[in-house]
Subunit: 548 residues, 2 copies
């Protein structure tokens, strides 16, 4: 570790990820190397803030402000350098990490001596058809803010919608997954929707349905065992959450959630907390993994890769008791961070390595306002109002920094004295090319609708139907690689036919404004669309297509 | 006004716009018709909240929370119905207003008996090349939130950028327009950037430049006269804002702001508060207008259109003193609203109409923390800390509702005791097809860059340059209707040539992900791009284009 001159060489510790695991490693290293300027610490995170996950559901309900559950990382770290970028790739042989470009389209490459992999897991909706396109994730701050705005938007639209089915869909809110995250978000949504709906005089509060779909017999069963999970289940029911237990989500479309028993729930709001996948960066590393997670020894080092450390949700960390592994919780991540920092220090300064050893203090979850469940030291179980007070107190005390504690305390106090905020913060339209999933019989658009998008079929078949004089007729069937909806856009007309799915379908769509910008300015492209129409497959080359 | 049965018929008052003017008309009507159920009041606004404009600049600096300057309209109105939609069109003959579609692509049509036009004005950047594409507006809550996030993003990138010019551009912040709005946003940006930059250890605070471009000799000269405007000008200078007076913005590009004297300021942040245009809906009405604003009589009714009323920033309202018109301020809008409500009541219930008569109480503006300027009753002029305390007190007392007063009061208090928040809230990428403006000599992309977008030329000419062995050669010139950048995307390669502007250029660009989604799934489109390349104009049909 020393250069020939006797001066120690600079050692660079690169920490990937700014969650509980990554931030705590950085903080512990800052403490341990306070007087050692030859150790550089850097954190790479895609956001400039740390998210205090346990309170994220309260952002959805508006009990706390939009930014009250996050802390600027620069405030938490005194000395470590922060790179706010996405990570493009990791090269364990070259000992480099490549960042995605910023304002200039050039990648940045960082070298490391020690690498800490604390990348957590990601929301991955692949595997259930329609989920990537139509379900709302609930993991990041942006997810929480987006979900809150979506709820308010649904209420706004429900208050002026005249079609009964559409209004029912707007007022039905489905959460899939009955773990801590799903239960908390369902409970908070339920509380806040029923509270806020009073301000919408055109909405009958009894028409609001909050549905939690869970594949077990009771929510939180896996996390808390029979007694507490029964309590949580009862509380949710009493508060008006509809529980669909022993069911799984099978498919999602623009208009509905479809369960494994065939039940079709009309909804415009589907929140899924179920599938959490390993970070694709971890996936891309050519090293041993177990269940998609990093295999580390009890010092949290990767086997075969000295000075590369793995912890948090992206690693499978062995517990002291043989054969067991750490659950993916904040309290474990924080203790793992201590171990990693200690072992990096030992590796740089010399000294004894520490094996990870922590049993967990307990588990807690809120089931909405004034109600929580907790299991302490794997022994005591409490529930109800007292558990809720404890839940708030514990998490409040864990909030990083005094500034954040004051802000959250103030927000909780304000929440008691002023009515809930119902501001829908519209920031920007999701633009570009988006994908949608439809099931058999669903209508993509109807004759007479305004032309708002252009569609390309990725999979499945669509029937083109014209209604005239009370009779309707299927005039064409389109399939993969074919497209529709362009002519209402090119000619600025209403849709002159209905498009219905003959099979389950996946389509790409492009908004009217983008389609028009492209075709207007690239005449050859416009010609292409006009020409392609006549060269498409025989099934669809009927004259009616010219009017879609 | 009475139906044959003697029961008064239902009268529907439709108010377009939820600013100071529209909300106050609705509130006044609710008061006046408290016991008359046969009068329906409805407000149409594109957001579900009212924005308290005077405090919007404090959202940018983070002195108050993101939502502290807005109030949910439903909380402000007890009885009026709210439609949160854009307005598609107004038909004064049929007495209808058409809303843009919500979840279903069908328009909604509302009928009215009385129409209140309180649509305000809009940001309109057309007229200055590059402004629509590259300048940030500052008018709505979304603008303020976006600007705040943009400032933080620029600091994040500056802290890791290695190119001197790019870093200088990231740390230079230009505001165009020295009226109240421009001065307030420049002052707040200056305060907050210098305060926040201390948290970025890689940024030298002295490298931060905040520049205010104004075409007069002193800021606020038109609004406040010589004495106060000199004070405001001096305060801004002392706080470190660079003032470029007697200058106008001529052009904006991705990398720079260019002034009328040819000065080119490298910047990635250009805020323009200058051009405010009449709402396009007002523009589209076939009625007399003056300077783009509605012509109304002293009862605020449109001539030739009984029961149609105009007020606020979209109307040219005559003052009692002949030949003068109301300035576009909140205090005038509120008094105009009283007049309109009174006259609608007179028209429905019978009674005397009221002519508008209000002289204004004064003018106030903040020039950053602890400093403000004010002119009261057209007579007294004050400035400095006392004016600032008055500025805060007056606006705080005008905040609608106790809840909002408590929240803003709490935010101001917290701002004294906890350090400023530096959370950059990334919500969604602006997607789809976007337009960019470039000036002569600017580089669109460089050889070796990552391929991140596809470009279509709308106007101007581009040189394609290949560097090889230290020499560079122009190998092609492309012009309007031609495109470039597709092959690096189709083949997933680095850019193999540089594209430089031979003339000023306007280009459309489409992000890599969208381009790939389209071409991958529509093979005929991919073929089109590959074919078009060989059929484009002779100037560009050189072999090198195949590698762009």
């Amino acid at each position: 570790m020393e250069s020939p001159s006797g001066e120690p060489s600079v050692q660079r510790v690169l920490i990937l990820g700014g969650g509980f695991a990554g931030i705590n490693v950085a903080q512990q290293l800052e403490k341990r190397f306070k007087r050692f300027r030859n150790v550089e610490i850097a954190v790479i995170n895609s956001e400039n803030y740390f998210v205090f996950q346990p309170l994220l559901a309260e952002v959805v309900s508006g009990n706390i402000g939009l930014l009250d559950t996050v802390s600027p990382i620069r405030r938490l770290l005194k000395r470590a350098r922060l790179y706010v970028r996405e990570i493009d790739s990791i090269d364990l042989n070259q000992r480099t990490v490549t960042l995605t470009p910023g304002f200039r389209p050039r990648p940045d490459i960082l070298h490391y001596d020690h690498l800490v992999l604390a990348l957590g897991n990601v929301t991955d909706f692949r595997g259930i058809p329609g989920l990537p396109e139509h379900a709302l994730p609930f993991k990041t701050l942006a997810d929480a803010v987006h979900l809150r705005n979506h709820l308010l938007h649904a209420l706004e639209e429900a208050s002026i919608e005249t079609d009964d089915d559409v209004r029912a869909g707007l007022l039905t809110f489905v959460v899939a997954g009955g773990g801590f995250s799903g239960v908390e978000v369902a409970a908070e949504m339920n509380d806040c929707l029923r509270r806020i709906a009073k301000q919408y005089r055109q909405i009958d509060p009894r028409a609001i349905r909050v549905i939690l779909v869970h594949n077990g017999d009771q929510v939180l069963h896996r996390e808390l065992g029979a007694g507490l999970s029964k309590y949580a289940t009862d509380v949710l029911r009493k508060k008006g959450v509809e529980l669909l237990l022993g069911r799984r989500l099978k498919t999602a479309t623009r208009d509905a959630a479809i369960l494994d028993d065939g039940q079709r729930i009309l909804t415009r709001t589907l929140v899924s907390t179920v599938p959490s996948s390993p970070n694709p960066l971890i996936d891309s590393l050519d090293i041993p993994k177990d269940r998609g997670r990093l295999v580390v020894d009890r010092f949290l080092e990767l086997s075969g890769h000295p000075q590369v450390w793995g912890l948090g949700d992206c690693a499978l960390v062995p517990m002291a008791s043989k054969g067991e592994f750490c659950p993916p919780t904040a309290q474990h991540a924080i203790r793992q961070a201590n171990t990693v920092a200690q072992n990096i220090a030992a590796s740089i300064m010399g000294g004894k390595r520490q094996a990870f050893n922590f049993k967990g203090l307990g588990k807690m979850g809120s089931v909405g306002h004034h109600s929580a469940v907790a299991e302490l030291f794997n022994r005591f179980r409490i529930s109800g109002f007292f558990a809720w007070i404890m839940w708030r107190t514990v998490y409040w005390s864990k909030l990083p920094g005094t500034a954040r504690k004051i802000r959250v305390g103030a927000a909780w106090f304000l929440d008691l004295v002023v009515p809930p905020d119902t501001v829908e913060l519209k920031l920007s339209q999701p633009g570009g090319v988006t994908q949608s999933h439809f099931e058999v019989g669903e209508i993509i658009f109807s004759q007479g609708d305004l032309g708002d998008a252009f569609y390309i079929i990725l999979e499945g078949e669509a029937e083109i139907i014209i209604e005239s004089g009370g009779a309707s007729q299927i005039v064409a069937v389109l399939s993969a690689g074919e497209y529709f909806g362009e002519l209402a856009l090119l000619n600025n007309k209403r849709r002159s036919a209905t498009v219905r799915c003959k099979t389950p379908m996946n389509v790409l769509s492009m908004r009217r404004a983008d389609f028009n910008a492209l075709t207007t300015n690239l005449p050859s492209l416009k010609q292409t669309f006009q020409q392609m129409k006549y060269s498409s497959s025989p099934r669809s080359s009927v004259p009616v297509k010219t009017d879609l």
